[in-house]
């Protein structure tokens, strides 16, 4: 084991390093790393004559070659990308705006606002999914009544049931839930900018919105980078919200199907389709590669080029 290796020359004295590392390394390796690699390997196997045999890239050929598989995979990938785009376009700007307002030290009730706006983030997807399903339900009428109150009733539609609107609606629900995280991280980054920098800007006559865009925003770009990659990994791994509000079929007509729900259906089967662990592993492998590419672009392409300011 790697943890014990360093002890070779002075075994008696440094056993404690191995003891300290062992529990974490064992659990992590056995439950996370080995299954991850085993899943990747299983994507290369398939059933043949009642046994699982090595089939090379056949599962991937099926995934991309078979029109039905390819259609659902590309549909899920595109939906997932759209889900991510909505997060980037709505969640980050709203988070930055709220954080910028909150970071004003003379603002009263800061603690109250912070606590309240973070509430949705601690709720589970199950709660969030059902709560919004009820509120947007045309049966109950909370959403139409509220739109009526501001004279916009004609805008209401059963969004979760419409192919064109369901995915965007769910993405916005997810943004509603998670906006607290970018808000908090950016808020923390804004607080860590030293007063001298702000004072210097003020002496130079740079104030208000101009100050924010010219001074603060460039300084918090690394934080926005971290938030973006966290959002990316979270979105391409999402499942719960769609499953809770639209079911494993990700209706209407697959309009809200993302990679997580596709993986679940493929692995466990649904209705008449049998579950297929090897095709499931192939989809998990594709998700792994997508996340790996995203993380690599961030680490090598973005983060290494971003200048970090140390104060």
């Amino acid at each position: 084991m790697a943890a014990a290796a360093p002890d070779e020359h002075k075994p008696a004295r440094r056993w404690h390093i191995a003891v300290f590392l062992a529990p974490a390394v064992l659990v992590y390796t056995a439950i996370m790393i080995i299954p991850l690699f085993s899943t990747l390997v299983q994507s290369l196997f398939g059933p043949e004559g009642g046994q699982r045999v090595f089939v090379g890239l056949r599962n991937f050929q099926t995934l991309f070659g078979d029109p039905r598989w390819a259609a659902s995979f590309w549909n899920a990938l595109w939906n997932n990308t759209w889900f991510f785009i909505i997060h980037m376009l709505v969640q980050n700007p709203v988070g930055v705006l709220l954080a910028a307002i909150l970071s004003n030290p003379s603002l009263r009730l800061r603690g109250f606002y912070r606590t309240a706006i973070f509430v949705p983030t601690i709720l589970s997807f199950v709660i969030v999914g059902f709560v919004w399903k009820l509120i947007l339900s045309p049966l109950w009428g909370v959403a139409p009544n509220m739109l009526d109150a501001i004279g916009l009733k004609h805008l209401f539609a059963p969004w979760l049931g419409q192919e064109g609107a369901a995915l965007t609606t769910l993405a916005l629900v997810s943004v509603w839930q998670f906006v607290g995280i970018p808000m908090m991280l950016i808020y923390a980054a804004l607080l860590s900018i030293p007063d001298e920098v702000i004072e210097a800007a003020e002496i130079d006559g740079v104030t208000g919105a101009k100050q924010f865009f010219k001074i603060q925003l460039p300084l918090i770009l690394p934080t926005i980078g971290i938030i973006s990659i966290l959002t990316f990994v979270g979105n391409f791994n999402a499942f719960d919200l769609i499953y809770v509000s639209q079911g494993a079929q990700a209706g209407p007509n697959g309009a809200t199907d993302i990679l997580g729900t596709l993986l679940y259906r493929t692995f466990f089967g649904f209705q008449l389709q049998q579950g297929d662990p090897n095709m499931g592993a192939a989809i998990a492998t594709m998700m792994f590669l997508i996340i790996l590419v995203g993380v690599s672009i961030y680490l090598f392409g973005i983060q290494s080029r971003m200048r970090r300011y140390q104060f």
């Binding site: 790697a2 943890a3 290796a5 360093p6 002890d7 440094r14 404690h16 300290f20 590392l21 529990p23 974490a24 390394v25 659990v27 992590y28 439950i31 790393i33 080995i34 299954p35 991850l36 085993s38 899943t39 299983q42 709203v94 705006l97 709220l98 307002i101 603002l107 009730l109 606002y113 606590t115 309240a116 706006i117 973070f118 509430v119 949705p120 601690i122 589970s124 199950v126 059902f130 709560v131 919004w132 509120i135 109950w140 009544n145 509603w176 908090m184 991280l185 923390a188 980054a189 860590s192 934080t223 990994v233 791994n237 499942f239 719960d240 466990f268 592993a281 792994f288 996340i291 790996l292």
Partner: protein
């Protein structure tokens, strides 16, 4: 004079935006909890009104308590969360101590290996995790969930804790060594108490995703006796879709404990995010 007026205007605008967003954040929760205490007719007729003596009704909660096993689900969630959390904190702190305190061959490599899991979600290994759990007979046990959540929580815990442990003074530890304390005593009696704030931060970050997870309970432990609150609520609501009182009551039961815990620990959580996580 104009400066004062413009700063007043700006402060009004700031409060207006924050109040508007606070309403957006809290309104859905408010609507659910308020309507859980109303009779069916009033849920539909006056969804935005507070419960009055005439509209007050607990029929939803009666359905939930008689039809669902929510007490058992709570117990399961509590066991899974507390045990997994304890394992993450103990194992994570031990590993973080080894990585930050000792120089040994492979230290950096080990740190990177353990950090992999921060970016790669454990869900992608589900196919093989289920096979392992089936092979070892752990399907439909809370142990399966505890193991998975321990593995899931460790990478971030080790990462954050080792940052903090580097800041513990060397003099203190060396003084302990001079006094003949073993490395284990130094860790448990000197270092651990000093990183307590960091442990609290890690605890909150680890706890929320465990308590809220639906994926692994659904796949590894869907039996009635091992359902967690999240899965239990999901299935209960799925069965009682048309019973609005029961659905609203179940949602309220799922929201309120988390909300109360959050209000107690929110300061800790927010301080944790604003100090530790940004590094």
């Amino acid at each position: 004079m104009t400066a004062a007026r413009s700063s007043l205007a700006r402060s009004v605008a700031a409060h207006a935006i924050l109040i508007a967003y606070t309403l957006i954040a809290l309104f859905p929760v408010f609507v659910i909890v308020v309507n859980a205490f109303k009779a069916r007719r009033d849920i539909f007729n006056t969804p935005l009104a507070l419960p009055t003596p005439e509209s007050f009704s607990l029929v939803g909660f009666e359905t939930v308590t008689s039809q669902g096993n929510f007490l058992l689900y709570f117990q399961n969630s509590l066991i899974v969360t507390v045990v997994a959390l304890a394992c993450v904190l103990l194992f994570g702190a031990m590993a973080a101590f080894a990585l930050s305190e000792y120089r040994f061959r492979g230290n950096t490599l080990m740190g990177l290996y353990l950090a992999l899991g921060i970016m790669i979600p454990i869900r992608l290994g589900t196919v093989a995790i289920l096979q392992i759990m089936v092979a070892s007979g752990l399907v439909n046990t809370l142990t399966a969930l505890i193991l998975v959540y321990t593995a899931q929580g460790l990478p971030l815990a080790i990462f954050i804790l080792s940052e903090f442990m580097r800041s513990v003074s060397d003099d203190l530890k060396n003084a302990g060594r001079v006094d003949g304390l073993s490395e284990y005593r130094i860790f448990f009696t000197l270092v651990l108490p000093l990183v307590r704030p960091a442990l609290a931060t890690v605890a909150v970050f680890t706890m929320i995703p465990i308590w809220n997870d639906l994926w692994f309970p659904l796949i590894l432990a869907p039996a009635e006796s091992t359902k967690t609150v999240t899965l239990g609520a999901q299935m209960f609501i799925g069965q009682f879709v048309t019973n609005w009182n029961a659905v609203l009551a179940a949602l309220t039961l799922a929201i309120v404990p988390v909300l109360v815990l959050y209000l107690i620990f929110s300061r800790q959580l927010i301080r944790g995010i604003t100090s530790g996580a940004v590094k």
